[in-house]
């Protein structure tokens, strides 16, 4: 099996896995980075969202072989201690119920706001519509994205 050298959260990680292994399972099963969640496995829910060179991607369908030298950021690497403006906004609004989808929601929001620091409500909904929250915390997610946008200025 090939050995992959992955740049994750600013550090090099080695993983010996088959080339079709989705990044999600490399993170979870091989590297112990468990903040990225499995929920659907077919890129429909966003729970597994991580950043690849700053872009939000679905790690459950991204083969490790296509990661190459790209910089991967997971929820563990978004900030050192949860001080990213998106994480702080999530706390201010008290978003979660079960919390399982929230790492993916936060990663989606963080990548979105980096590209679009002044989003309209409609743009927020379009960006966040890709992530499912079964507890129905969408109102608070929307509010938190707005607060994060304000605080990132």
């Amino acid at each position: 099996m090939p050995m992959y050298n992955l740049n994750i959260n600013g550090k090099q990680h080695k993983a010996e896995v088959s080339d079709d292994t989705p990044l999600l399972w490399v993170l979870r099963d091989h590297l112990g980075l468990l903040g990225t969640k499995y929920a659907c496995g077919i890129a429909t829910c966003g729970a597994c969202t991580v950043h690849l060179n700053g872009e939000a991607i679905r790690s459950c369908v991204l083969p490790v072989s296509s990661v190459g030298n790209a910089q991967v950021t997971t929820i563990e690497g978004l900030s050192a201690n949860g001080e990213h403006p998106v994480q702080k906004a999530w706390d201010e609004v008290d978003v979660p119920q079960c919390g399982y989808c929230q790492a993916g929601q936060i990663m989606t929001a963080a990548a979105f706001l980096k590209k679009n620091p002044n989003p309209s409500d409609k743009e927020i909904v379009e960006a966040m519509n890709s992530n499912i929250c079964r507890c129905g915390t969408y109102h608070r997610i929307k509010d938190a994205v707005k607060i994060a946008a304000k605080n990132m200025k």
Partner: protein, 721 residues
Amino acid sequence: MSTSKIASPNRRQFLKTTTLAGGGLFLSFDLFSKNSSSRMKVQSGEADLVHFNSYLSIDPDGTVTIFSPNPEVGQGIKTSFPMIIAEELDLDWKKIKVVQAPLDTKRFERQVAGGSRSTPHSWKRLREAGASARNLLLQAASAQWKVPMDQLSTSMGMIHHKATGKMEHYGAFAGAAAKLDLPKEIPLKDPSQFHTIGTWVKGVDNMEVFTGKTQYGLDIYKPGMKQAMIVRAPAFGLKLKSVNGEAAKSMPGIEEVVSFNNRVAIIGKSTWEIMKARKALNIEWQKDTDLESSEMHNKILSDMIGSGKMETRRAEGNIEQAFKDAVKTVESEFQCPFIPHNSMEPMNFYADVREDSAELVGPTQNPESARNAVARLLNLSQDKVNVVFTRMGGGFGRRLNSDFALEAAELSKLIKSPVKVTWSREDDMTGGIYRPACKYKFKAGLDANGNMIAFQLRAAGINSGNPSRENNFPVGAIDHVLVESSDYKSPITTGPWRAPITNFLAGAEQIFFDEVAEAAGKDPVALRLEWVAKAKAKPVGKVLYEPDRFKAVIDLVAEKSQWFKKKKGVYKGFSVYFAHSTYVAQVAEVVKVKGKPVVKKVYCAVDCGILVNQSGALNQIVGSVVDGMGAAMYGRLTFKEGSPNETNFDKYRMIRMGEIPDVEVHFVKNTIDPTGLGEPALPPVSGAIGNALYRATGIRYRDQPFIDYMNEGKAGAGQNM
């Protein structure tokens, strides 16, 4: 101040103390003791703390740790329970540490997340725990400072003596306090004095959740642990005939293929390797019972509510005569499909079964039930089985069952190894235990004044138990009533789904009563108020709801939504429901965007008694509205030859941010003991939305999912962008 009498002398022993290595003193409370004669085993050192159940510790430096006993499924219990203790103990919320207590059935009652019962069950116990600790600390301070106790006051974890200006934190008195006897009566605060209860408090685990540190069941990885997935019968009604796992076993990372109890397990080193190899399994299934389809269920349910034999659930007056006397009758049928729970974290469990003991770790809403089931399965005594419960990535009733824990235990025993069983999303959606499909036939008889003199409900379900709720409002206000039900036994497994039965029945009822109001020429709100008045003045049979509380939520939602005021282009629908001891009235507003109806807003008026945590309560109510709307609009699991057609989120539509309405919540303010909020706001929402959609489109949304009415071209679905 009200007082709480400690009736049983045993309960007075629930407070214990011990000395920690290093001089720390623990004041320990057995909050839920049902057997207080059992002594707390408090030993020195941090490592021993896990042996505790619910308790509260006060360090010499004044740090307070509260153990929260119930499983956290997203209902916010890990935050709201300690708030209640902190209130009576006058603690500074910001200085409290909250820790999850383990399963311990000797010391706790009802470590369950379900039925919206956690808060009502524990409200008084938690208050007494906090209040009695405060009382003992005051006694100790009084003795030490040699001042009368009634000259002392507490605030933010400190004791003050005003005359001398003395002030000291609780930690200074914890050791002395723990040696004192509890008083016979423990004064509890008057709700007007609450400083923590009723405020906005954030989740105690927020930052762990936001940084990915929270450990859910799927995040359990232990040394020596194997990974496994289990292939279950692809259709309800099939059983295992044979399995050839050679091809799968030869694939990388695969260690073993075993079969047990109609299942095939594939065991290996990593999830992806197992996911790939399971496709190479060669399994033959054979027919065990009939393989049912949704068309067959439709016919069965129609036959049942048509002329099928039913069991009488409630009867008042003379229903036959009343329908003869009626000048007008209204009759309608409503149907809902099976739906899966779809918690974001799929089912999973870790098990390590040894010769004479077993340890299980995972997400369960009912760890005691899981432990007992595993003990029975393995023929071990309950004290040899340890179930550690993790935070859950949602439950919605699915995790009240123990099938996933039993499977893991059975597999671990078979392969003689610790193992984590992971369900794929497809396993989770097709693996059974669904909200049952139900069908209802309502009939109302009206007199010449438009009064409903007769009300009949025929309720049918598939593995639903009793699909009616025969004591529901407005039963109690109607002179002639007949509620009947029947249940069809199917190989398709079912179980509680958030607000069992009422999650559809409520909406059906509320749409039917809208039809009754229309037939009677009455306003839907006015009609409910007539019934409430009747139930209060001249109740018919037993009435299990309080008419005044019903009236209060109806009035409140009518006022806040300006129900009686017409708004151009806004179509309104009303519902009101009482379930899980909580009263909820809702008004939905629908507007048309490019000719398509869009649910724009839902007003909620809620009477849940005293509000414990504003943030948590609002989150539950708004989430229930979203969840209830999602299920009503899109939820459907259909079957072909016993197999579910919808297997993942590409085929099963979940509500997303683009579809949510604004939600405005108002609480009835009172000082009644709190009731649950995990479920009650969900049942009425499909009724309010259905009634508003009717006004917008002229179509009665009687069957779920509502999207069918929209896709048929009668009206389109709009997005709330």
